[in-house]
């Protein structure tokens, strides 16, 4: 699964320019002194106006909300228990009562597929949240202070970057005897942080030259205040866009690792594991492959589409 690296290549080239353009907008605002409070047209409120009328964004929002609800309260979607199985139903085809049929153990496949959303979403969201926090902290240090620390961090990211994601994941995860939510998330964070760090560092480099940063420094603001109060809000946009796309990519990567047998382990209910179990019975029971594959793809699609429409709205170049 090479998407991870590819997504970053795409977002990197397409979004690095965003912080600069954002500044342009702010500068444009300055002459119109004192707009009434609440009526400011910031980049985000502009973007929101555009997003509200974009059908693609609304579709992605619908999908993302759907999967979040599915992860938190799967009971809303199914009353069946995914762990209550009866071997007499083994491999039954989909029917009007049991839409997705049954798996080898005779468990209701619809219930299992719905419950499978939970761990995928949890891993996707928490991995990206951690990677983003790491990226902001290290990227601030690296981009703002520069110097030898910057060089060390840059070389370290170069090294991590050279290791293919899935390959690195296989090697590290195979070392761990027990692999659950924490182990898989941990590995995906350490393989995923360098890209976000690079994005944020580049963004900090562009923003720190701005006049208002200079002004804050002249007023005696501490480095900490400058970094988090002035630079962060203006430099975070590319990271947010990339994060939305990456949640999808991480969900796919987790499924790929579980599929290969080095990710989550049974009895966890995960789409990757379900597809892995389906592969030997692909002819006999194609529904075992189809349904988790479909939901997995839809979840990934939702996040990638959201990142894509966010970028269109936040990057004024494309207008």
């Amino acid at each position: 699964m090479s998407d991870f690296r590819q997504a970053e290549a795409v977002t990197e080239t397409e979004t690095v320019a965003t912080p600069v353009t954002e500044e342009v907008e702010e500068e444009v605002q300055k002459p119109t002194e004192g707009p009434p409070p609440g009526a400011t047209t910031s980049l985000w409120s502009d973007a929101w106006k555009e997003l509200r009328s974009s059908p693609l964004f609304l579709v992605s929002l619908g999908l993302v909300v759907l999967f979040i609800v599915m992860a938190i309260v799967p009971q809303l979607f199914t009353s069946a228990d995914p762990r209550a199985c009866s071997l007499s139903n083994s491999l039954d085809r989909p029917s009007s009562e049991h839409w997705f049929g049954f798996d080898l153990q005779g468990c209701d496949y619809y219930a299992r597929t719905i419950y499978g959303a939970r761990i995928s979403m949890a891993i996707g969201v928490s991995v990206i949240a951690f990677a983003a926090i790491l990226a902001v902290i290290l990227g601030s240090i690296s981009g703002y202070y520069g110097g030898w620390l910057d060089s060390v961090i840059a070389r370290l990211t170069d090294i991590w970057f050279a290791i293919p994601t899935i390959l690195g994941g296989i090697v590290i995860l195979s070392l761990l005897g027990e692999r659950g939510f924490f182990q898989v998330s941990f590995v995906l964070v350490i393989l995923g942080w360098p890209t976000m760090l690079r994005l944020y560092r580049a963004s900090v480099l562009a923003v720190k030259e701005m006049d208002y940063v200079e002004a804050a420094r002249a007023l005696g603001a501490s480095d900490f205040r400058i970094l988090f109060k002035h630079i962060l809000p203006n430099a975070i946009t590319p990271v947010i866009i990339y994060a939305a796309i990456s949640v999808g990519v991480i969900i796919a990567a987790e499924a790929a690792l579980s599929f290969l047998g080095v990710g989550l382990q049974l009895p966890a209910i995960s789409w990757g594991l379900m597809i892995s179990g389906a592969q030997t019975r692909i002819l006999q029971a194609p529904h075992l492959l189809l349904f988790p594959g479909l939901l997995l793809s839809l979840a990934v699609f939702g996040f990638i589409l959201m990142g894509d429409s966010l970028r269109d709205a936040l990057d004024p170049k494309g207008r």
Binding site: M1, S2, D3, R5, Q6, A7, A9, V10, T13, E14, R155, L156, D158, I159, W160, A162, I163, P164, T165, I166, L167, G168, I170, V171, I172, S174, L175, G177, G248, A252, A255, A256, F259, L260, V262, I275, A278, Q279, I282, L283, P286, L289, G293, L296, S297, L298, V300, F301, I304, L305, D308, K317, G318
Partner: protein
């Protein structure tokens, strides 16, 4: 230029050391595992450990290993087979697979990107935008099984497993492997071309009466392909790495297949050898891209 090449060395050493350290931290004693249930005489165990340098500290093992790699010696596995032999046998398969996938994604991806980018907002543009997102969203193993099930088994158009049919055996795996990158290439080309078509130099070229094919093909495209080429450099490396899943699904005896089996069997030297090879390919293709840059964009110079 020379500086760029020199940078390559520490990154290569760092990445291989990382992999090396990780692999040899695998818990469990591979030497003892060789003899199965019956305990091995202590002297035999010591002799074997000495033979594979396992009795030395990690950094020394690594040093000896790199010294060997530089001389083309990747060590041997625990059955005494040279890792270079294992690799030599499998590299052609993975290389062919990656090359077919690469050709497929470059040709179709750039063509789709040009068609979409020239008429931004048109029908083809929207078609390309949505279909590429759909392709990106389907994980490669789901796509692989679907292709196998429908094209291979149900309709019987192409072989689905092994290498029995020569070139034909590679078609389906290469399409599956290249599909995600194809979508990225199409999107990159589209964005970049649409942006360049509005640039002043394109207007100038049109104004001085050049044919549209020349304006697009020579003036706009040359600049538009720069981000695409950056991507291709990263992609060539990840195609090789991504081959693990594709080779597994289509049962091709390539490097990805070998490395996966080696991880499971704790064949440390094989894992490190193949991963080192992947890292090398990845770094070299990035290096190549940096050189190509200067050719495509004369504004970029290396001191």
């Amino acid at each position: 230029m020379i500086r760029r090449v020199l940078q390559f060395v520490p990154v290569f050493l760092g990445a291989t050391f990382l992999i090396f350290a990780l692999v040899f931290l695998i818990p469990g004693d591979p030497i003892r595992a060789l003899s199965g249930d019956r305990p091995m005489p202590a002297s035999v165990q010591q002799a074997l450990e000495a033979r594979y340098n396992l009795d030395k500290p990690l950094w020394e093992q690594y040093f000896l290993y790199v010294a060997g790699v530089v001389q083309g010696d990747f060590g041997e596995d625990f059955r005494g087979r040279e890792v270079t032999d294992i690799m030599a046998e499998r590299i052609p398969v993975t290389f062919k697979l990656a090359m077919y996938a690469f050709a497929f994604e470059v040709v179709i991806g750039i063509a789709a990107g040009i068609m979409a980018g020239l008429r931004k907002g048109g029908f083809i543009d929207n078609l390309v935008r949505i279909s590429t997102l759909v392709v990106i969203s389907i994980p490669i193993f789901v796509l692989g099984f679907m292709a196998q099930l429908l094209i291979g088994v149900r309709w019987g158009w192409l072989p689905v497993s092994g290498l029995g049919d020569g070139f034909k055996s590679y078609i389906l795996p290469a399409i599956v492997l290249g599909s995600t990158s194809l979508a990225y290439i199409a999107r990159l080309t589209r964005t970049s071309l649409a942006e360049n078509m509005r640039a002043d130099y394109v207007r100038t070229a049109t104004a001085k009466g050049l044919k549209r094919s020349r304006v697009v093909g020579v003036h706009a495209l040359r600049n538009s392909l720069i981000p695409v080429i950056t991507f291709l450099g990263v992609d060539l490396g990840s195609l090789m790495g991504g081959a693990i899943i594709t080779e597994g699904i289509f049962n091709l005896p390539g490097l990805g297949n070998a490395v996966f089996r080696a991880v499971v069997q704790q064949e440390g030297t094989v894992v490190v050898g193949i991963v080192t090879f992947f890292v090398l390919v990845f770094l070299l293709s990035n290096l190549l891209v940096d050189v190509l840059y200067a050719v495509l964009d004369p504004r970029i110079r290396y001191e």
